[in-house]
């Protein structure tokens, strides 16, 4: 460091005084922005990054669509599923069919699974569960949360404590990011009411993941989904069948095998 710079930081001369003022102003600015919690969410998010070097902000996460798929999009068979995490039959479908499909036909590139949320209004916590799942999906933890929800459905259905199972399903750093998304999700979650109804009517747009749930609901309404689970099977891009209810893995596998011949 040269003499001029030393002089500037040692406080001697106009340059030194100016630099001191500049540093003081900068520190004051950091102090002010770091403690401003009363500002609107967008401003808080920016200052949080600057002051605390936090993980990606809510605004950044909100623009990343959640990935709720299993397998390769190039698989010859595509299975689109519309489910509700609080639906008992959906749980049976997950436990008795989807899990085996994922470890077998999805893993071998035969089937590509696309999950869509279709939370029914009759299930009190299904909308909130969909929010958690979508938030987890934005950080790449959808599979873990889906498994956690279905494995513990009876428990969280009783008390609505979903966070307990989400936190246990992922590393803390991922949970912190998920929680950062969920902190603005305080309004009623989007759920399926009547076809054509706006899923965001009660939830508003404050929760970043609600738009994805709403999109899934609208897609389901478009496809005439009226129950969960409903699955739509495509083969080489063509829709083959749409069915609702549970189907066991051996039966579904048998059908897939005829398509793959």
């Amino acid at each position: 460091m040269n003499a001029d710079a030393n002089r500037g930081f040692s406080g001697g001369g106009q340059f030194g005084r100016a630099s001191q003022v500049f540093v003081a102003l900068a520190l004051a600015g950091l102090l002010v922005t770091g403690t401003s919690s009363a500002r609107p969410p967008q401003a808080t998010a920016k200052s949080t990054v600057v002051a605390h070097k936090a993980p990606p902000t809510k605004a950044t996460i909100a623009t990343t669509a959640p990935t709720k798929t299993y397998g390769s999009p190039n698989a010859p068979i595509k299975l689109e599923i519309f489910t509700d995490y609080q639906c008992p039959i959906c749980q049976v479908f997950y436990e008795q069919t989807l899990r085996y499909m994922i470890s077998d036909y999805v893993a071998s590139g035969k089937v590509y699974v696309v999950h869509h949320d279709f939370p029914l209004v009759m299930h009190q916590y299904s909308g909130q569960a969909a929010r958690w799942a979508n938030a987890a999906a934005t950080v790449g933890e959808f599979e873990a949360v889906e498994a956690a929800f279905y494995n513990n459905q009876a428990a969280w259905t009783a008390d609505g404590n979903l966070a307990k199972y989400v936190v246990a399903a992922m590393p803390k750093s991922d949970f912190d990011r998920v929680q950062a998304i969920m902190k603005d999700c305080t309004t009623p979650a989007p759920q399926v009411t009547t076809p054509g109804a706006d899923p965001l009517a009660k939830s508003g747009t404050s929760c970043p993941v609600d738009q994805y749930i709403a999109k899934d609901i609208q897609l389901g309404n478009q496809d005439g989904v009226n129950a969960t689970p409903t699955f739509i099977i495509y083969h080489n891009g063509q829709k083959i069948t749409q069915s609702s209810g549970n189907v066991s893995w051996p039966i579904l596998k048998q059908f897939f095998d005829t398509l793959l011949k």
Binding site: I240, S248, P250, D257, T258
Partner: protein, 179 residues
């Protein structure tokens, strides 16, 4: 209307009834066996795919194991095909109508069981698609198909389908029992 006219009317109604019920079973069989893939033509492979798809429908009732569901799915369409042809032919109508009545009762029971358990599934009676099982579908089977089948059973026992003639060659009134 004299006895001869009544007998003739009875025979005509019996023919219409068995043909109608026979066609219903034939349509049911065809809907389960027809190719389901776009652009696919009839072949052994297409039938295999169709039967595998029907198996999903049977399995969705959650009444039997997956193995049994697969077996039912592979047998039922051919059973309906044979029964449809049998009814339409009129041969052994008493037995065929009894069997069709029992079959329809079984279908109604399965639909009622699924509906009572809150399963929102398709009937699968005439192929994939259609509305979920509900009172409408059960009423269709319960108030149209079943009465038709029962009427055939009764009619096959009561109505003599072949007109009888006396030793002089004159037609005589048909007996109302037996035949």
């Amino acid at each position: 209307m004299d006895a001869q006219s009544r007998a003739k009317s009875g025979r005509i109604l019996l023919i219409l009834g068995r043909v109608a019920l026979g066609v219903i079973f034939l349509v049911a069989a065809w809907s389960k066996l027809k190719p389901v893939l776009p652009g696919q033509s009839w072949s052994v492979s297409s039938v295999e795919t169709s039967l595998a798809m029907f198996a999903m429908g049977v399995d969705s009732y959650q009444m039997v194991s997956s193995g049994t569901a697969s077996t039912i799915a592979h047998v039922l369409p051919f059973f309906e095909l044979v029964l449809g042809l049998w009814l339409t032919s009129g041969i052994g109508l008493r037995i065929s109508s009894l069997i069709s009545t029992l079959a329809i009762c079984a279908f109604i029971y399965a639909m009622f069981s699924a509906w009572r358990r809150g399963l929102t599934i398709n009937c699968g009676c005439f192929g994939q698609g259609g509305p979920p099982i509900g009172p409408k579908e059960m009423m269709r089977d319960g108030f149209i198909f079943l009465p038709l089948s029962i009427a055939l059973v009764v009619g096959s026992f009561v109505v003599n389908r072949k007109p009888q003639s006396s030793s002089t060659g004159e037609a005589i009134p048909v007996a109302q029992t037996g035949g």
